[in-house]
Structures are given as C-alpha cells and as structure tokens.
C-alpha cells in the first residue's frame, strides 16, 4: 500500500514555511526548485505538451459502454461495438464520432486501483495520493506551478466546473484553479450594483494607500501578498483575454461540431466547455479541467442512459480533437478524458453498474501521446487487468513527462516531509510518441 506521508525527512522548516508564505517567496522557491530539479528528459524526447485539457467524467464512466466493450459476454450487456479508423481497435457504439479520430487517441484499458468512494477516488486520481496528513495539491496546481506563467492575466489553472475539482492543497493560492461554470460569469467578477469603474478604481486606490501604511508599520509580508492578489484580480476582471469564455464568437458550424449548441440542461455542457477550453489554451492557460457533477454515476439504467450522455461527450471530445488538430494545436495540447474509476462487470438489479476501481479505462490524445493505440487489456469478462496494469501515479507521471516535468521531483510539504510529484509513478512509455 502506498504511503501518503512523504517519506523523506529533512526538508528545512524554512522551505516548508515558504509554501505557506505564498506569493513572492513561494514563487522564488518554485524557481529555485526548478533550477535544482536537474531533470533531463530522455535523449531525443523534448517536451511536446504545453497545455493540458482534462475532461473529467465525474461519477465514473462505464468502460463496458465506452472504451472496453465486451460484446457477447454476460458482463458486456447489450452494448455493441463499432470499428474505428484504426484497424483492430473497436469501441462501444455510443462513440461513433470519436471512432473516426481514433488514430489520434490512445486508450488505456488497464487502469487499476483500490479507491471506490467518489470523493476519495477523485482525490486520489487528481492528486496521485490518498487523503492523508494534509491536502495534497492537484495535478492542475502542480502544472500551474511547474510551467505556468506567474504573470498570466488568467490563472494558469482554470476549472470549468464547480464540482469534483481538487485545488492547490498546501501550495499557495497562486496555483488554485479559477472556478468558472460554463455559461455563467466568473464569481464576483462584476461590480456591485451601481458601482462604476471609476469608483471601483477609487476603492482599489484607497485600499492600496491604506495597505502601504500598514505594511510600513507592521512589516508583514501578508500585506504585500494581499496587494498582489488585488492587482491580479483587477487585471483578470478587466482582461481582454476573458473573451475566451465567450465561445459564441466561434463559427456556428464549429459550435455545432462540438455539439455546443445543445441545450445546457442539467449541467450537460461538455460541448461548450471543450470549446472554451480550446480558447483558453490559445490564451495561454496551462491546465483546463472540465467537470459535470456526477453525471456518469450510472447505478441505474446504464444502457438506457448511455446513448444520450455518451453522445454529448462523443461530439465534444471528437470536436475538440479535430479542432485542435486542424489548428495545429494537438501536438502541444494533451487531452485527458477520465473519471475517478470505472464500473462493475456485474450488472445490478436496476440495470446499472456500481463503482469499480479494479479494472477500468481512460483515453488520452495529443501533447506527445501516440494516437491509435490501446495500452493494456482486461480479461474476457473485464473483471481483472490481464496485461500491463497502469496505476494512477503512472498516468500522472506520463502527463508530467509529456510536459517536460520530472515526475520524481520532490516538493516540500507543510509537515516537513518531501513529497514526490507522483507517488513513485513511472511514465507509461508505450503511450509516448
């Protein structure tokens, strides 16, 4: 069993405190860390990915009804499979559009883990650690820290969701996700009713003067950090880059290709979110995570529900990959489509499937991932992983490797131990282009 405590002593307290101090010191340490990290990518393999888009399938999508159908077996249910544009790779019938871009997608059919509770598994998949002595930073926050632009107008990590997103954990809030639900404004970005830009600026100026005196008298870095947060907030809400959130500026044909004109009911906004994600990446955002509540938690009627739910994802995912590819952005943008676990081979009495972390599937594309491949396999009934097991730390290590970040780099934690970026993760070489 993996340990979540970090197992190396001796990081100095000063370094640990550095995280808490955030702002300047945190960034200074981050830079220092990068310089000392002495990570050299394998010869001949330069980092390809510059950004990551995660399409999070909250609730846990059924692998039997998506990437690992078992036609003709009891565990496979009535779900049929279809050909893809890669000979020999067959996926479930609900993903007809995705099947046509399979040459750009890699499927892992051998994900395996132990966490079967939504929250714990989500935490584990997004941080690489089980819950422990402190809040671990999520991969989005790690990426923001490792490759983000400290002066970016839009934060380096944007969550197009309000649920199922882990944040910066013990790291400074500079690396927290900006949480925006597609179709709604950034929380509190608008002025209070009746306030003018001029009065808003007036308030900011009064705060700045007030803080200047406080900083002088009390010599506390917090006042400085406070000021930086306000400057960043001011720049964000007035940034011209915010138009990235307005996907309606796109060509109506493209909007339809993503199925982004589908009614935005019950949070089914994959199309909009994927289109916004692409626009954000174009604006320099490093990590976008899309999530729709627990949409895929199909304990009931999985066969009746999947055609519609999967249909929305099918359009959004294939639309995104096609669009990125047409724009020449696919090589530098890693797309990761996954939930926190898969679903049981056994079909329950409600025609549903329950949580199953033991053998499940996910899909990746772009950013240095070799498309048109299937990694690993389950046995005939999809009960066990039969070939090439892949653990979450290995998956995260693969993502870091694509980004040119050393997956074994250690970072200081609040309790003094040093934590690996991934818990002994080894990149899945077969996934890399």
């Amino acid at each position: 069993m993996s340990c979540n405590c970090g197992s190396e002593p001796g990081v100095s307290r000063r370094q640990a405190i550095g995280y808490g101090l955030g702002g300047f010191l945190g960034l200074a340490l981050a830079r220092q860390g990068a310089a000392l990290g002495d990570f050299l990518p394998a010869p001949g393999r330069a980092a390809k990915a510059k950004s990551v888009i995660v399409i999070w399938l909250g609730g846990g999508m059924s692998q039997f009804e998506s990437w690992d159908p078992k036609v003709g077996r009891d565990t496979g249910g009535p779900t049929k499979d279809i050909e893809t544009n890669v000979p020999g790779i067959r996926i479930a019938e609900h993903f007809a559009k995705t099947a046509r871009v399979m040459d750009k997608i890699a499927i892992v059919r051998s994900m395996t883990g132990k966490e079967g509770d939504h929250d714990r598994a989500t935490y584990f998949c997004q941080t690489g650690y089980v819950p422990g002595a402190f809040h671990h930073p999520s991969i989005g926050s790690m990426v923001a820290k490792e490759i983000g632009d400290p002066n970016a107008e839009i934060p380096n990590f944007v969550a197009l969701s309000i649920a199922n997103i882990n944040g910066a954990g013990f790291m400074p809030s500079d690396y927290s996700p900006l949480r925006v639900r597609p179709g709604t404004p950034i929380p509190n970005a608008g002025y209070p009713k009746g306030l003018t830009r001029d009065a808003f600026n007036g308030r900011l100026e009064l705060v700045r003067k007030q803080d200047e005196e406080f900083l002088r008298d009390y010599a506390c870095p917090e006042a400085e950090i406070h000021g930086v947060g306000y400057q960043k907030a001011d720049r964000l809400i007035h940034s011209p880059l915010l138009k990235a959130f307005d996907y309606k500026q796109e060509d109506p044909k493209l909007i339809r290709a993503y199925d982004a004109d589908a009614p935005n009911t019950q949070g089914h906004y994959y199309g909009q979110a994927c289109l916004i994600a692409r626009r954000l990446v174009e604006s320099g955002v490093k990590f976008v995570q899309i999530s729709v509540d627990n949409l895929w938690d199909h304990h009931k009627d999985v066969f009746a529900t999947m055609p519609k739910t999967a249909g929305l994802l099918d359009s959004a995912l294939s639309g995104l990959i096609t669009d990125l590819s047409n724009r020449g952005m696919l090589d530098s943008t890693l797309v990761l489509c996954m939930g926190e676990f898969g679903r049981t081979p056994k079909i329950n009495k409600d025609s549903g499937r329950d949580h199953y972390p033991r053998a499940w599937s996910l899909a990746l594309a772009g950013g240095g991932i070799q498309g048109g491949r299937v990694i690993g396999a389950t046995d005939a009934d999809g009960v066990e992983v039969a070939q090439r097991p892949v653990r979450i730390p290995d998956l995260l290590a693969t993502v870091y490797t694509c980004l040119g970040v050393d997956p074994l780099k250690r970072i200081p934690t609040p309790i003094g131990a040093r934590l690996q970026m991934t818990d002994k993760g080894t990149p899945v070489q077969e996934l890399l282009a």
Binding site: G22, P192, A199, R203, L206, Q210, A219, I225, G229
Partner: protein, 511 residues
Amino acid sequence: MRRFATVLAVVLAASELQSQEPLSGRRLIDAEISKKRQAAGLPSAAKSDDAEFLRRVWLDIAGTIPTAEEAEQFLKDPSPGKRERLIDRLLEGDTYARNWSHVWASAILGVGDVRFQEDVADKLPRALEGYFARNEPFDAFARSVISFQTKPPANPKEERDGLSLFYTELFIRQGKESPQFLSSKFVRVFLGYQIQCARCHDHPFDHWTQEEFYGMAAFFAGAVHQERGVGERAPGVVKGLAIPDSKAPMLKPAFLETHDAPEKAETLRTAFARILTDRSSAQFSKSGVNRVWATLFGRGFVQPIDQFKAENPPTHPELLDALAAEFRSRKYDVRWLIREICNSETYQLTGRTKVRDREHERHYAAAPIRALRPEQLVDAMFVAAGLDEQGSLKRDRLLREFRATLGFDFGAPGVRFQGGIPAALLMLNGPIVAEATARSASGTPRRLERILRERADEGSRIDAIYLSALSRLPREEERDRCRSYVRSRGDAGFGDVMAALLNSSEFLLSH
C-alpha cells in the same frame, strides 16, 4: 502610563522573587518568554496601544470586532484595569462560546483526511457551543466528543446534531477504515501526535509502529454506524481489529505509551477517552494548551501543532510543561487559560515592528500577524457594516461561500495568509460589501445614512467609518486623504471609504 506599567511589573516580579512563590499563569508566561527572548538577544516590542489591543482581544475571544460605540467607549475610558475587565466581560459574553466552538470544530474536521460536507461544517460548531458556554472542563469536553453516541430523536423530524453528522459522514467516507481514521483524528486533536503514517508501515522517521497504530485504532472498532449517527457495541463484544490485507492476528486495544487496555465494564471508546484524560493526561494537557496558545498567537510552542515528537521540540518546553500542569490542576478550566494568556504582557505587545523574521516570531518579539478565520471575517464584516444576522444576508450561506473561497483552513494556526484572486473578488465585489455600500434612491449609501445624518462635517463622518471598520480613529493623513476623496465623489464616496477599509490588510489580519 507605559513606564508606570513597566515599573509596576518589575516591582511585582521582584516581590514574587522575594516571596519565592512559584510563578503562575500570566506572570509565568511573561517571565519565561522574556527570559528566552533576552537570551536570544532580541528586543521586545512596546506594549500595544488600546486600539490594537481592543481589536485583537475581541477577535480572539469573541470572534468578532466591537461596534463603533463600544470601541469609542473603551478608547475613551481612562481607568486602569480596563483591559482586564474587558477580557473578563468578553469571556462571559454572548459570542465567546460560538467563536471557540468554531476553533475546535475546525480542529476536529481538520485539514487533509476527509472533505466533510458543508452541513457538517455548519452544524458541528453548534453541537460544541454548549460545552464552551458552560465552560465545561476540557477533559470532560474531550470525553464527550470521543465517546459520543447518538440519542434517539424526541421526534422523527428532529434535525440531526453536528456530532452525529460528523460521525455519519466519516463512516460513509471511510467505510471499514473508520476505526483507523477516528483514532488518528482524535490522537491528532487531543494528543498532538500524527500516527496515521504508521497505518501502512512502521514509519522510519517517527517512533510509532504499525502495531501501536492498530492498537489505538482498535479502540474504535466498537463504534457502529447507525441510521442517524453513531452507536457503540456493548462492553466485551468487540475484542480487537485486524490489519487489512495482512495475516497478522487481530490486535487488541492498547493505548499509546501507557499500554492501557479497556476495563471489563467499559465500552471501547469510553475506555479510550478515560485513558486519554487520565493516564495520558500529561500529554493531553500539553496538547490542549498548545492548541489554545496557537489559536491566540498563530503558532504553538510545538509547531505544526499536531506534531509533538522528539525531532520537533517545543520552543519553550518549561513554560509548556508548567502551563499544562496548571491547566490540569485547575480542572481544565478553559476560560482560565485564555484569561491568563490574554492578560499577559506577551499577548499585549504591539504588532508594530521593523523586523518580522522567524527568530523574532519564535520569541514573540512583537504581536503576530494572523489571517482571520472565515467566520471571524464574516462576523467582523457584519458588525463593521451594521448588518443584522437575521437580515437578508444569511450567515450560514456566507460562511460556506467564504470557506469555499478562502479555504477551510484559512486563518488556522500555522497556515499563512494567502490572498488570491477569488478571495480578492469575494471581498471587493461580494455580497457583504455590496450590501454594506448599497445606495438608496437618493444615492447615499443606505447603511451609512445614520452616520451621515448625525454627523455634519466630513472629518467626523470619516472618524465614524474608521471606528466602525477598524475600531480606531483615523490618523490625520488618513482623514485628509479620505476627505479629499469624498469631496470629489459626493456621499457615495463614503461608501467607497467603507468598502476600502473592509478590504484593507488591517481589516482582514489580526495584528
């Protein structure tokens, strides 16, 4: 006045020395802290001014700030002993229990292990409030929480209490690992040890073994998830706990360090609580003192506060031991402990300083800077803006929004202030500032109408706004600056001044 106080302190200290009585409480604190500070060659800051002290002690004891009237009254009061009287009054006041129930609820919910649902964070403080309102001895409080059993409801529609919700949530999240989590949690909160690393292996850098870990977890093997909360198996029914994925024999309950086991007639959790507060009481008391101290100073003698271990010795071991012994001998009187700390000169130093580094912090060379916890911030904003908790803005909803935006552990001891964009936007444009500066049809900020009506000149209006928000009068330069600002903006400008003060570092940092 300041010189007089110093002379008095010296005389008192001298007389104590002569009488050879052991120092206790506040005098002990000051003697030990200044002895070490001097040995380190560090100077001490001056005594806080009344306004600094007023705001700090209100936030620490009552969890909010005084109204403008209360602030003005205190600042004008020339009588000696007014600080001590204020401390007593706040400890007996309405919001003391609410504030400290939040402190302990945050400790129990903790950071890291489980992400509790919002309703647990809402309701757990309410479930704990009574213990602090009654000034229940700290050991009795710990025993109640640890051995808590959900009672059948008087009527089926009765809302579930916060402790039942807490246990339920933990059972749902952790399933069969609940005993391990409950034991790790209570060991952290009440003994200040981190034992959870030993869950998977004998930890190489800590002295807990896996056997000890499961010996403690076994005390929680009798806790059962019931429909409405938590129950407990009868004494003797559950014998121990098995190590998952291991062929090792079932481990029997055995308390850390003392090796005590349950008695025949005891339920397992009752046994845990008894041993904790009896045979293990030296550490229990130290951990409790450390947490209260850390809440009042932003850092514990042992920091991180739940990492008592040989490699992480206390900054002031003698003081911690002596305070812990006195806390115990005073029957774990929590109000006594807070009263002594708040009356110490150490607590009452000014926060104004030129240097703020780790050495100065460790030796309490000046008052620490601490971020307000989300509930302190919301409550202080309500008081500053004159908003009613029963009004259109609901405190519970706001607390959720502030906790979600600022982070659950915002303002916890040892967690540094972080700021950030969502927090800045919530403070600048969020519902409280919007309501505090909302304008009536005539364009004047509604919440400031009384100040504008009662006070004719700009300077005195600005004074009132500073008293409301910062519990002090503005300095000359501040008054001039704000005056010229409102002159160019009309009455709405007063709203901007209020908004700016609510957003200032001085407002959201205790200093």
